[in-house]
């Protein structure tokens, strides 16, 4: 256990010593006087805390904007972080192009959200191709401007110039993920680099907290004031991040981020292409992982319905054994999974053969960056006008995400006509008893079960 580590902050090395590993990157930056980075929600929703980190990329490296409120400080050990204070030359005439564009387009009123917008835009500025402003900025909230000037500022950005110091930086490789063994204030932080080490740590410390992207875990940490005595971070285990294209399945490492999943599988798995852009925000997708989503086992998690409908298997491992089980056997109860205390989720295996027709529907109050009230993944395999297999999975209608097996079975051998729809609706109606909460009433959720099937029919068999 070491009591110190280093990272690069705005281009300069920084030594961290004696800081409790439960400290977030945001709190650390602000305590150092880098107060341009703001807190406004501490749950990854507003983007006021956005900073950029340097990550690996096919050609050198790239910037990724992340929510610093959801990053535990030791996660940046060995890494490279940029804040709003670091992106320009310092003098007003040295504004970074995204800063200048925001200022010139009246993109700030109270200015509190502005540094976060700067950092999302900064990271996006160097991407080729660039994201559309609306997609890029979905994780940044502004209460003052109404967004129009910010979108115009984004749309007006020039291409980076040859002399841009950041362009030069990105031609070099990103810092590699390093092992971390750090302790301070009575808390410990381990970041192994191999799966074997991770499993051994897991075996040795069954009570330790596993950390992937932290986009569920650190939210809870901030909101409930929770402290972790011992954390095992999985982000540096390369084997857990890989996405493999095998003969009949895609094998997605449990800590592959949503960003990577979309990049790699977006054009191979249509339902993922529909779902991932509606999942959280680019900031969250840069950190949040597929495995974390399944292990959190939220009844409104968005990955589960899609993967249930695609008949996915999950692979778990302990220091002594590996096992594979169908995803439908993974969810045991409200936020409970089949994972044993000495196990890690290591991979998600998605069959390659895609349905003839499939849709993912997400019902929420806001179109982007909102949690589902109800979600549905509807997948139908057809042959000669007849259904050979149908799988309907839902989120938000029970204590776990669920596969409506009876409704799917009722459809086999039939065509997608009105009578078949009625039968499927009847089957889902009797299968679930949704609940009331802050997002929606039980009655609405129940209505959505049937309504989303009808929507599928109207789109696929009009």
């Amino acid at each position: 256990m070491s009591a110190a580590f280093e990272f690069t902050l705005n281009g300069r090395p920084i030594a961290v010593a004696g800081v409790d590993p439960n400290t977030t990157l945001l709190a650390f930056l602000r305590a150092r006087g880098l107060t341009g980075t703001k807190e406004s929600c501490a749950e990854g929703e507003c983007g006021a805390c956005a900073v950029a980190v340097v990550v690996a990329h096919a050609r050198g490296s790239r910037f990724q904007a992340v929510n610093s409120c959801l990053v535990l400080l030791p996660e940046v050990a060995g890494g490279e972080v940029w804040t709003v204070e670091g992106v320009c030359g310092g003098a007003p005439e040295d504004l970074h192009p995204v800063q200048r564009s925001l200022a010139e387009h009246n993109g700030s009123q109270c200015g509190y959200c502005t540094p976060g917008f700067v950092m999302s835009l900064f990271a996006g500025y160097y991407d080729t191709p660039r994201s559309e402003p609306r997609a890029l900025l979905a994780g940044n909230l502004c209460r003052c401007t109404g967004y129009r000037p910010i979108c115009e500022a984004a749309a007006a950005l020039p291409a980076p110039t040859a002399g841009d110091v950041h362009v030069a930086r990105l031609q070099r490789a990103a810092p590699g993920p390093t092992a971390v063994e750090y302790g301070a204030g009575g808390a410990h932080f381990h970041r192994p680099t191999t799966l074997e080490q991770a499993l051994a740590l897991r075996a040795r410390h069954p009570d330790a907290t596993l950390l992937a992207g932290g986009t569920d875990l650190v939210v809870e940490h901030n909101q409930e004031g929770r402290r972790h005595e011992r954390v095992i971070a999985l982000s540096a285990v390369a084997a857990l991040r890989a996405i493999e294209d095998r003969a009949d399945e895609f094998v997605v490492g449990a800590t592959a981020t949503w960003h990577d999943v979309l990049q790699r599988l977006g054009d191979r798995v249509p339902m993922l292409a529909q779902m991932v852009p509606l999942f959280a925000s680019p900031l969250i997708r840069n950190r949040g992982t597929l495995g974390g989503n399944l292990t959190t086992a939220s009844p409104v998690g968005d990955a589960a319905p899609v993967l249930l409908a695609l008949d996915t298997n999950v692979e778990v491992a302990s220091a002594t054994a590996r096992r594979t089980l169908p995803l439908r056997e993974w969810f045991l109860g409200y936020r409970r999974t089949a994972l044993q205390p000495d196990e890690l989720l290591v991979a998600i295996r998605i069959p390659k053969v895609q349905p003839t027709a499939s849709r993912f529907y997400k019902v929420s109050k806001r179109e982007l960056d909102d949690i589902s009230s109800v979600s549905a993944a509807v997948a139908v395999w057809q042959h000669g006008g007849r259904v050979t297999q149908a799988r309907f999975a839902f989120g938000g209608v029970a204590a776990t995400p669920v596969l409506a097996s009876a409704a799917g079975a009722a459809l086999v051998g039939r065509s997608l006509d009105a009578a078949a729809l009625r039968d499927c609706q009847a089957a889902v109606r009797s299968a679930f008893t949704p609940i009331d909460d802050v997002r929606a009433s039980a009655a609405y959720r129940a209505a959505m079960l049937e309504s989303l099937l009808a929507k599928f029919w109207s789109e696929v068999a009009p």
């Binding site: 602000r30 204070e85 200022a103 009123q109 109270c110 003052c144 402290r227 806001r366 309504s451």
Partner: protein
């Protein structure tokens, strides 16, 4: 810090713009506070045991009632908010505060403070309050004509009810105050407050010191929207008390959950109405009963209700009108000012009424709206002449033309016929909003302008900067009046030792009041400098011109600084105060008659939406706005206010939902459960124009207030949603609950599908009750 728009923005984009918490964390001596919050909506506090908490590392104090040297209750109008309640009146109310070296230490310790309660019954909704006769105020009323007789005589009548939802301010910067002692024993209060003078007074009362011992500074706020008009005071008082007790600087910073659970919101309103009208849809009589949810204490609720009574007419002439209202007392956080201040809630109600009238008669709503507009010479229900009444008609016609309303209507009807599962809706709604504090005494402002011998200038005034661009507008006024260059002027942070006894920056009046006060101070200075310059230039006083820091006359020119230096040598004072009290306004509350407003701001918006019939999900496709800002002092800033206000109003009406649980605990208590508009809600077509030929003689440089009025333009979105819902049915009125989140819209669609041509069956009533 000069505050030209561009330089202000430069500080924002570099992260150099400091907010209160940024100041506090720079001082390592600062102690951090965390509240111990009530876990009941209504209970007697029987014991507080802080023993364990005080033994935790870094913990310095547990603040309770015993520590208060002065006033133990605060409140902007009625002192009915205990700093440390013996009887908690809402879930989440702070009972005590822990001070520690670090925030996480304070937070951990606060969780270990044991509070014993004796639980009491709680009133958790307006309906429950009405049933329990639980009110904070006596009723207010305004009556014009003989509404009962006119209702009886009307050929058509309708009655209905509507519940209008609340709204969380969700300023991005949460409440924050940092207090330290100065070298002479005074208290320096840095507060994110819209009302430094009242924050100063509150601190002085609580500490039992004269106001002169307390200086309050509001450097800038990361948004406020009314939420820091009165409700910043508590946090400043706690920080000051902590500083008094420990002798160390203390910061009170709420995180988002604390902010949402402790502070009040826009008032929810419950309305009952009855309307009488003729076959053309002309309103003949309107009777409205309003009940707002004030929460546990009075705060500004009575004035907010008053503004609702004033705005129940919106732009419509109703010859016989009675509007009555009362503030309910519930065991919920104390609701407070929010952009529009009661006006929006009333206008949602009257727009609902007019739309229902139109759809009941089978007439286009935009025709019925226009038919009922005020005409020149009309008076409002409180007797004020509607000056510039012809403007709304002009705005309406121009906007219908520029938005291509008629052809879009036809295109939408065709689209709807072709799409059974999705419908588009289109609506246009008007806004008239009265400008002035309705409490007449508040309509005053002061300024202090200092000119230094090098020709540089400091401008102080009582208004606070929360993102609305006040400092930029005032700077423009100073530059224009004094004739200096923008970079010669420095806008000073708002401080109570520069201008005393100021009003809150609120009621959209910031630039009207403070801008005019600064203009007067600058005008006085200019008056002193002109003869000096004339003598130097060898011309007459009235031949001297000063622009951009250059003084010209008699064919010669001089730098402003030289004239200033000469004035100094001649012993002419180079500073001036300016004072402005809005003339001509008055209101007799007992009679319900007067001229409470200096003028009206006008506008209209067209909104087009698309609704998914399967889910009720909706999307705003296009917005066209024509708004009256007088002669704009800063068009880019005004446009920002219009767009931002519109989106905030749209959020209130379509996606933001304040939800309390059956125990009175707030369930929408963070950004993940309370959804404000994101970038995806910004309409792809967003056309904003400002009315031409709109000089306002009653305000500084012919300008008009712009902070609040545009919020109500968003009622067009609600009405467009109603129009889309109507397209799923067979005609007739459409009930639509508020806010119109997808679930609400879904139930409204179900209702019109079930009863195609029936009159409004309230979808609200059929909507299953969640949460409450």
């Amino acid at each position: 810090m000069s505050a030209s728009g561009h330089e202000r923005a430069s500080r924002h984009v570099t992260g150099d713009a400091l907010y209160v918490h940024d100041l506090a964390v720079r001082d390592p001596a600062t102690l951090h506070a965390w509240p111990v919050q009530s876990v009941h909506a209504h209970a007697r506090v029987t014991a507080i045991d802080g023993g364990d908490a005080l033994r935790m590392p870094g913990v310095r104090a547990l603040l309770t009632a015993r520590d208060v040297p002065g006033a133990k209750t605060i409140g902007p109008v009625r002192h009915d908010e205990p700093l440390f309640p013996d009887e908690v009146c809402y879930h989440g109310q702070p009972v005590a505060w822990v001070l520690a070296d670090g925030e996480s230490q304070a937070r951990a310790a606060a969780a270990r403070v044991r509070v014993a309660y004796e639980v009491l019954p709680a009133v958790l909704s307006i309906q429950a309050a009405i049933a329990a006769d639980s009110f904070l105020t006596e009723p207010q009323a305004i009556v014009a004509g003989d509404p009962d007789a006119a209702l009886g005589a009307a050929s058509h009548r309708l009655a209905g009810e509507l519940h209008v939802g609340g709204q969380e301010h969700f300023y991005l910067e949460m409440q924050c105050a940092w207090v330290h002692r100065d070298a002479t024993g005074g208290f320096v209060v840095h507060s994110s407050t819209q009302h430094p003078a009242e924050t100063q007074a509150t601190v002085a009362h609580v500490l039992d010191v004269p106001a002169h011992r307390v200086v309050c500074e509001s450097l800038r706020m990361g948004g406020a929207f009314g939420g820091k008009e009165s409700q910043a005071n508590l946090f400043a008082a706690i920080a000051a008390l902590g500083c008094h007790v420990t002798g160390r600087p203390v910061v009170v910073r709420l995180d988002r959950r604390r902010d949402m659970t402790i502070t009040g919101k826009r008032h929810p309103f419950f309305a009952r109405y009855e309307v009488g009208f003729d076959g053309d849809g002309r309103l003949q009589a309107l009777v409205v009963e309003l009940c707002s949810d004030g929460g546990y204490s009075l705060d500004l609720s009575n004035a907010i209700l008053g503004r609702a009574l004033f705005h129940i007419d919106n732009c419509y002439r109703v010859p016989h009108l009675r509007v009555r209202g009362r503030v309910a007392r519930t065991h919920l956080p104390s609701n407070t000012a929010m952009r529009g201040f009661g006006g929006p809630q009333a206008m949602v109600v009257v727009e609902e009424v007019v739309d229902r009238v139109a759809r009941t008669l089978g007439l286009p709503p935009e025709v019925v709206r226009q038919r009922n507009f005020y005409r020149p010479g009309d008076r409002t229900h409180y007797g004020q002449q509607v000056r510039d009444a012809e403007r709304i008609d002009r705005i309406w016609r121009e906007l219908l033309a520029t938005s291509d309303y008629a052809s879009r209507r036809a295109a939408i009807d065709a689209w709807n016929t072709a799409h059974p599962h999705a419908k588009r809706g289109l609506a246009i709604t008007p806004v008239k909003f009265g400008i002035s504090f309705t409490t007449t005494a508040l309509n005053q402002a002061g300024a202090l302008v200092l000119v230094y011998r090098d020709g540089s200038v400091q401008v102080n005034h009582g208004g606070t900067e929360m993102g609305q661009g006040l400092h930029s507008k005032v700077l423009a006024i100073a530059v224009r009046t004094l004739g200096v260059a923008p970079q010669q002027v420095r806008m000073m942070p708002t401080r109570t030792d520069k201008v005393p006894n100021t009003s809150a920056t609120a009621a959209s009046s910031g630039s009207d009041l403070n801008g005019e006060a600064v203009r007067r101070a600058c005008d006085e200075l200019r008056g002193r400098l002109l003869p000096v310059a004339a003598a130097m230039l060898g011309c007459a006083d009235d031949e001297v011109g000063i622009t951009d820091g250059v003084v010209r006359g008699g064919g010669r020119e001089l730098p402003f600084a030289e004239v200033v230096e000469r004035a100094y040598q001649q012993r002419s004072p180079l500073f001036a105060t300016g004072y402005y009290a809005t003339p001509g306004i008055h209101f007799d509350a007992a009679a319900g008659r007067g001229e409470p407003f200096r003028y009206f701001a006008w506008g209209a918006a067209v909104a087009e939406v698309e609704v998914d019939g399967f889910t009720g999900a909706h999307r705003l496709r296009a917005v066209d706005i024509l708004h009256d800002v007088g002669d704009s002092l800063a068009p880019a800033i005004d446009r920002g206010q219009i767009e931002g206000g519109f989106l905030q109003g749209m959020g209130w009406l379509t996606c933001e939902q304040v939800v309390f649980g059956a125990d009175g605990a707030l369930r929408s208590r963070g950004a993940s459960t309370y959804k404000l508009p994101g970038v995806g809600e910004c309409p792809p077509r967003f056309v904003v124009n400002m009315l031409s030929r709109a000089t306002e003689p009653g305000a500084v440089f012919g300008s008009k207030a712009v902070g609040e009025p545009p919020l109500m333009l968003a009622i067009a979105v609600r009405e467009a949603l109603r129009d889309a819902v109507a397209a799923f049915g067979g005609g007739g009125p459409v009930a639509l609950a508020c806010p119109s989140v997808p679930e609400t819209v879904f139930w409204a669609i179900q209702a019109v599908r079930r009863a195609p041509a029936a009159t409004a069956a309230a979808a609200d009533d059929q909507r299953p009750r969640s949460c409450r």
